[in-house]
Amino acid sequence: MTDINKQRFLAELAQLLTFMYEEDRQDALMVYSAMFDEAQDEQALLQALVSPIRQAVLVARAYNATERKLQAHSQSRSEAGAPRDESVAPDYLQAIFAIRAEALSKQAAKVEAVQEDKNQFSLFDLAAQEQAAGAEAPAESAEAPAEEAPAGSEAEAEVPAGSEAEDGEAPAEEARVDAFMADFAIAEEGAAPAEEAPAGEAPAQSSVEELLDAAEKEVDEQDERFVVVVDGSDKPVRERTVLKPRVPLLILYVLLAIPVTLVGIVLLLLPTLASLGAAAVLISVGVMAVSSVFGGFAVLADLLVVLGAALILLALGLLFLWLFIWFIGGAIVGLIRGVCALGRKWCYKEVPAI
């Protein structure tokens, strides 16, 4: 199961990092893969990393495509095989190294806590030790030692015959199932992102912004809909909330808000209509002045003066027309929305959903 989680995490991360150059993306994924290899407890590491989206956002914030393009041109191929120096690594890799250091330190603290727990005496430990002793006995009697058997998917093919004894059969079965699951996970999920990302293709900077926007929007939506409640355990429990009206307050608010809003709308309608009238007059006079320019003026200097005056009138007419649109679409609609938002804030309260 842990292999599937690792593969799924890396596959989702690979899909999210397609805005990067292919080489950079592969480097980032290699660092994450190494992080999983170094991890003593993979589940704890997955919890520390939170989600692929979060990691993609962190990498995207530290990634500068333009700068990386220039660095990629100047970097020689011989340096690619050299061991990586974390102090001179690009910004996005330094960000990943920082994440790795933080995650591994958290995990080390957790493992120490678990070790302390294991030091306590338990009857289950005795039973487990007896079982382990029973499994080791037939393995030692076999010709080839069990340590020579390769780990991973080929484990079951080279398991010595002596290990098929009754006590050693159960661990061998588990290893076979784990190997099968690991192979299945790589074949199904690991291949997909590699095919989707074209090699060497220049990434668009807008995709980074889109990714950041989408991730931030998702986080905002989650924050709006859920309230995090910590119940003493490690994992926070997310609780859905609903808005419940305070009916007497709501009725009082509606009774007061309607006349106040109507007065505000009427007051806003006066400058709105004045703007519309001024815009109509200025634009019509300007248009007529422009049309008269090409009719009766014989001197170029006179023509320039009238044309300049017409331009000024048309510009002012455009300004008043925009003011009319702003009063209608911005001020009046904003007033109504503001009154509604205020009512929601004052007359509703958030309660946990049943």
């Binding site: 019509s284 200097a301 006179d302 003066v305 009238v306 300049g308 000024i312 510009a315 455009l318 702003w326």
Partner: protein
């Protein structure tokens, strides 16, 4: 809305600047206000402005009567 305000203000100020330049160049190169007015008075623009002025005076008088009645 802020972006639209920016675009509108840029257009308006550009047109006003261009109009002011036209007026200035016209006066520098020998424009005469009396000659311009004599031409405008003969055109339909003058009649249109006269009509607008008449409507404005009527509307103003009506508004004053309304305010006085309040």
């Amino acid at each position: 809305m802020k972006k639209a305000w920016g675009v509108i203000l840029v257009i308006v100020f550009s047109a006003i600047l261009l109009g002011a330049v036209c007026v200035g160049v016209g006066y520098i190169t020998g424009a005469d206000m009396n000659r311009i007015l004599s031409v405008v008075e003969d055109s339909s623009l003058y009649a249109y402005v006269q009509t607008l002025q008449q409507y404005w005076n009527q509307a103003y008088a009506y508004a004053m009567q309304l305010l006085a009645s309040l």
